[in-house]
Amino acid sequence: MKKYLLVMLSFCVLSFSWAQGRTVTGKVTDAESGETIPGANIVEKGTSNGTITDFDGNYSISVGDGATLVVSFVGYQAQEVSVGAMGVVDVQLALDVQSLAEVVVVGYGTQDKKEITSAVVSIDEESFNVGNINNPAELLQGKVPGLSVYNKGGDPNSSGTIRLRGISTVGSNTEPLVVIDGVIGASLDNVDPNDIESVNVLKDGSAAAIYGSRGSSGVILVTTKRGKRNAGVSATYNGFVAAATMLNTLPTLSAQEYIAAGGNDLGSETDWLGAVTQTGISNVHNIAVSGGSGSTTYRLATNFRDVNGILNNSGFDQVNARANISHFAMNDKLKIDFNMSMTNRESNFSFTEALRYATLYNPTAPVTFDNGEYFQAILFDNFNPVAIVEQNQNVGKRKNLNFNVQGEYSILDELSVTVNYGQQYTNNFNGQFYPSTSFFRGLNRGGLASRYMDDSRFELVETYATYNNTFGDINLTVSGGYSFQESFFESLNVSLGNLPTNDLGFYGIDLSGDRVLGIASNVGIDANASPEERIIAFFGRVNMTFDDAIFFNASVRREGSTKLGADNRWGIFPAVSAGVDLNNYLGVDALSQLKLRVGYGVTGSLPALSGQAQDAYTYDFAGGGTVNFARAGNPDLKWEEKAEINVGVDFGLMGGRLTGAVDVYQRTISDFILNRQVDPGVYGASLRYENVGELQTVGAELSLGFDAVQNSDFTWNTGVVLSTYETTLNAFTNDVFTLANLGAPGQNGTNMIRVAVGEEIGQIWGPRFEGVAENGAPTFADLNGDGNVVADPGAALADDADFEVLGNGLPSLELGWTNRINYKNFDFNAFFRGAFGHSLVNTWRAFYEPIDGGAINSYNRVVSDKAVDGLTAAQYSSLYVEKADFLRLDNVTLGYTFDVSDIAAFKNVRLYANVQNAFVITGYSGLDPDPSLQDFGPTGNGGFASGSPDVLSPGIDRRNAYFTARTFTFGINLGF
């Protein structure tokens, strides 16, 4: 009944017919089963006159003389019937096997899954991670072999790191290129996880080469949900409430232990971590209405997110709206898609420093004095964490707007032309405020206020044509097109102190006395505008299928960028791949598929920043007015080039119950871009962007899926993905160098990572701890046996240094293990995730575990089970490098779907409960054993984090981490 009503509704709302000549009636049925087909599309050929069938498959249409009806329905082959003199025309539609085959979105088009000859993984909604997920990347964490997604800590305002097949570049963009509904370079920030239908990951060079100079880090193609033709109107609601709690803290001394260890007793007992953390309660609601007539489909969705993290005040409120509308016209020859989405997020970033200082603050100190003022002391790199969170403000607003319109017109049955135009805008507007009473950043400068705003604009015009035809056993698809992309970024940052009042917060920034005093270092005004960046490309591709079993793909992209030196702007990125379904010829019954694939492709990577090919001068009024040489441009700068060969096998056994894929690859990144040290006397700067070296990664990936149990009311699917890779520096201008400074207090000049030509990337490097000397200093092993121990990190690269590899920051094996069980109306999902073989430098221990009489009074002591008695001097060594292998129950869900067949109001009702980070098995003593893929360097003592991440320095667990959360979610899915 309900179904009937809906079909009728859509019929009334969206169908239209014109009375012309005479009326034809009939019934549309499935050719095989004889079942009626409601909602089938009937169009009078060559006109816009059409209708759809009712619930019983009947239709009625007025047509002109000599009319031909085109009858179509999703999943069936369209049929044309000449009406002639007939008054009743019954039509039997045959299933379209081709269109039911799994279609995979690839660059500039789609392909049947079986025709794919490169390393492409498609993940649909059913396989996504669930729970309190606010970023699309987290949907994929652990699901795609070779795709590493890590968001260390549970900061709701941080989006984590995405890395495909290891380090693909050093000095340019390390994150994959994101393409949303055909818009290249779109931002994942403006797509709500609820609105994503599927995500395809183009992993190897042959798949990504069609995206040319930005494909080196892989390509993630996001397809958002759309309405379906003839599907009537339906609405869904998905909502959940989540509670985040701290998974883990660092072991420190209690007040009593602290006093016993020589700490000064300040008379109180404070649970500092308790005072700055909360149970972070989040609410998320998604409402979507979708539908489709025969000619128009739409889906409108709104997402509300009120997310709160475990750190007091941290979280965001977000509204996202998306409208996807498609219209089919001119007998389906023309299809027009409109996609729009906007996001408005208001964040409170709070201060992760509060977690650091809550761990380290004197546990006998009071939060406030009796008079209500905060207890604050002048210490190096230690501040009252409650005061930090409560006195100061760190907030921001972000607005994203995306729009694209795409028209696809079939000139001939075999030839179509597509034009896509898109825009993307992002604004940020942030504010920070530190009152004059805040020892953290505000003291002795009359308070500090800052405002930051930026605006980025991106425009895309792409047009391409696709020709598809079959010649005997050969099916041929040829596409070619043009792409124009332009982007512009500008920002303004103002920070001023000396505020006359603390009452106005950062809105009082214009009252700053620094404007009058003119202290240059206190008047922070930074206006930035990156040169307009353009990328222009011409591309073409050929797909050929022989015998429906042998597949061949080739593509080429010629692309140019403004970011490069004048003579090196244009590059050519070719790719070729081939595959054969061997079982088509072997005919082994046990095998449902055995496809061998080989692909080779060249992609590129552009410098992260514009303007690096040109010198730059700035002006400084200070010092009598100075024209300063500010940047040494490199007029020879060119794109990085990655050549990748990928060999894979897709197989199916036991009638398709067991499926899997194995991929092995080798990628060579040559001319990689790095801001490298140059002779300052010659170039006028110590660093310059150059194409300076070669990296090579070899890796292997396996994915297996098994339908272990398939009964009518009990099913169990399980799947495993495994990946491993190793990256080697093949060539560089320096034979060996070190990176990743440990930092203050007392451990500057202490680089923990070694990079050497001919060796693996990610080496954690240092002296081997041996014991404790009488004076409390550590002693180290004489590794080279010369009788002289040289273990000062400042001498790490000396010929006589006693240093060794203490671990590797990159995992040697990453695992994802999915289990999906359905029993009657229950569904249960357990996803385990692990990484093995990597180490982390536990910098918390390196600074605060060995502690002397002075330091114990500045910092609480971190005491892991690895602490060494009597050690009083903090000095980096193997003692602080820990294996961080782990296996965690990352995501577990229990759901129940109610039987609503008797309730007209609902189509579908499901309740579920979910736990993220249920447990972690690891020997690592720090907060979170997840690999740290890149390093932002040390920050402390109220300083601001700066700079871009260093991808050559994995494995450093810094002290500014947001603490990892365990999250409990209770949710509901409703369909109307």
């Binding site: 700067a685 000396a798 009489g853």
Partner: protein, 524 residues
């Protein structure tokens, strides 16, 4: 239908035709080449009522301030390996990879980041000089910038010996010897003199600056030239040339000793020569015009004071508790020496209202207790020096409400020091460390400090007097080498006889960056 087809083909072709293949990049917020500011008058610094000329030369002059009075640059590289200052490891604080201790105990490493930072700063300045020289200057301006560059090359040559003498932006040259660098610096200074003005201009070089550079160069010439004492250019003894150059300054009548010592806001003695308002002090031959507002780069307050001393001076930023003087060096000042109180901060510390300052994190083993008290004795260099140990560097006095960047100008060539250069050259020329004319000059300096004439003139009393006078002026390393005391033992630094250590190792990063055109100094 055909029409539509054509329309689409047209749209498609338009897309291609737009075909904007223009990839020219235009900078939006920077200039790609040097430019002339439309109103350079606005650029004048309000340097405590003294303006710097807006003559376009500041990019070159500013190079003289890089690393000169802050941590991790030239000041640290020249000072920390000497017996006048050190940074002791305080448990978890100030180990920093051992790079500070390594410098003090003469375990010089090519990977030491302080050496690298010093080299890069000086060569960055040389590039700026070359860039300014290439921009088209008049004769006087050219002479000024060449002389500035000669001073930068002197620092490089003094520290590393075998350096590159770059004179054109963007053009590399082979590494030269120390003798070549010496000859270049000498000829550049001599060539500059005729075009330099005689009169003093604030923040600018005149002839006296070039002469002072020559005097310093000649005095050290036997060190730089493997014991050669005769100047091949003039045929004179280098010491005579040093005396002549010094006399050119002394006889100009432009400079004098400033005997003004007065009590500062913190109750401490301040010498006017180094005070926050020491602009254009009569004793400065050339002082870098640091300015809290417009000429940052002097950070002594942060470098030396203990964290809670922030309250003594109401400092805007918390200090770092790093640099302190060695006890023996501090004790070498006699009780009545005005410099002892003016150059060092010792004893109990009070906040700006005169109350004792407490270190809430005081070490319970520290005999001084919670109240901050800077004791000249430092218990050990590492690993657990007391946090309050060591007399602090106070020659460049702090002012209340001190910003991280100090206001004091920093003399690179100073009349009082030049008197001692001439005195030493006289002693060395005559082979007589009791030379009366020389000690007449030394005793002028002593008298200014409130001391009687030296009772027992000798090489060692001269050396000690010079050390006391030029403390915190980054000259001690050069002096220790010239007096053959570089390898001596002091405090926790052991004696060595490694003469190769008279040169620092060329930074590893620079050898790598040079693409093989720099090779390491012998011995390293």
């Amino acid at each position: 239908m055909k029409l539509l087809n054509r329309l689409f083909v047209l749209v498609f072709l338009l897309g291609v035709g737009f075909a904007c293949t223009d990839l020219e990049e235009e900078l939006t917020a920077d200039f790609s080449e040097g430019f002339t500011p439309q109103n350079p008058g606005f650029g004048e610094s309000a340097n405590t009522n003294m303006a710097l000329p807006a003559d376009g030369l500041n990019a070159a002059y500013n190079a003289l301030g890089i690393g000169t009075a802050n941590h991790f640059g030239y000041f640290s590289a020249a000072g920390l390996p000497s017996d006048e200052i050190t940074i002791a490891q305080k448990g978890g604080d100030w180990f920093d990879g051992g790079v500070l201790i390594n410098l003090h105990v003469h375990d010089f490493r090519s990977t030491n980041p302080i050496l690298n930072n010093t080299w890069a700063g000086l060569y960055g300045g040389i590039f700026q000089c070359n860039d300014v020289l290439a921009s088209g200057l008049n004769a006087q301006q050219t002479a000024e910038v060449r002389a500035v560059r000669a001073v930068l090359y002197w620092k490089l040559m003094d520290m590393w010996g075998n350096i590159k003498l770059l004179t054109t932006p963007g053009a590399d040259v082979p590494q030269g010897t120390r003798a070549e660098a010496f000859a270049f610096i000498e000829s550049e200074a001599l060539a500059a003199i005729p075009d330099l003005p005689v009169a003093r201009t604030y923040g600018r070089f005149n002839q006296s600056v070039a002469y002072a550079l020559l005097a310093r160069l000649y005095l050290n010439a036997p060190v730089y030239l493997d014991g050669t004492t005769t100047n091949p250019t003039t045929g004179n003894s280098f010491y005579q040339d040093a005396i002549d150059a010094a006399d050119a300054v002394i006889n100009s009548g432009l400079y004098d000793l400033d005997a003004n010592f007065y009590e500062g806001a913190d109750g401490r003695m301040i010498s006017a020569v180094y005070a926050p308002d020491n602009v254009n002090n009569i004793e400065h031959i050339y002082a870098f015009p640091y300015d809290e507002a417009t000429g940052g780069g002097m950070n002594f307050a942060q470098m030396t004071l203990h964290y809670p001393s922030q309250l003594t001076y109401d400092l805007q930023q918390q200090p770092w508790n790093g640099y302190a003087s060695l006890e023996e060096f501090y004790n070498s000042y006699a009780a009545g020496d005005k410099r002892k109180e003016a150059y060092f901060i010792t004893g109990p510390q009070k906040d700006i209202n005169g109350n004792p300052i407490l270190d809430v994190a005081f070490d319970q083993n520290d005999p001084d207790g919670a109240e901050i008290n800077y004791t000249p004795a430092i218990n050990e260099l590492f690993p657990n020096s007391s946090r309050q140990a060591g007399a602090r560097m106070g020659k460049f006095a702090f002012k209340a409400g001190q910003l991280p960047d100090m206001d004091n100008d920093y003399p690179i060539f100073r009349y009082g020091e030049l008197l001692l250069v001439k005195a030493e050259a006289l002693c060395r020329l005559n082979g007589d460390w009791a030379n009366a004319e020389a000690w007449g000059l030394v005793n002028q300096v002593r008298a200014r400090a409130g001391l009687a004439a030296e009772a027992s003139p000798s090489e060692s009393t001269f050396f000690a007097e010079r050390g006391r006078e030029v403390f915190q002026e980054a000259l001690r390393r050069t002096d220790l080498i010239r007096f053959g005391k570089w390898g001596d033992a002091w405090w926790e630094k052991a004696a060595h006889s490694d003469t190769y250590k008279n040169l620092m190792p060329i930074p590893n990063d620079q050898i790598n960056a040079s693409g093989g055109t720099l090779s390491q100094n012998p011995g390293y």
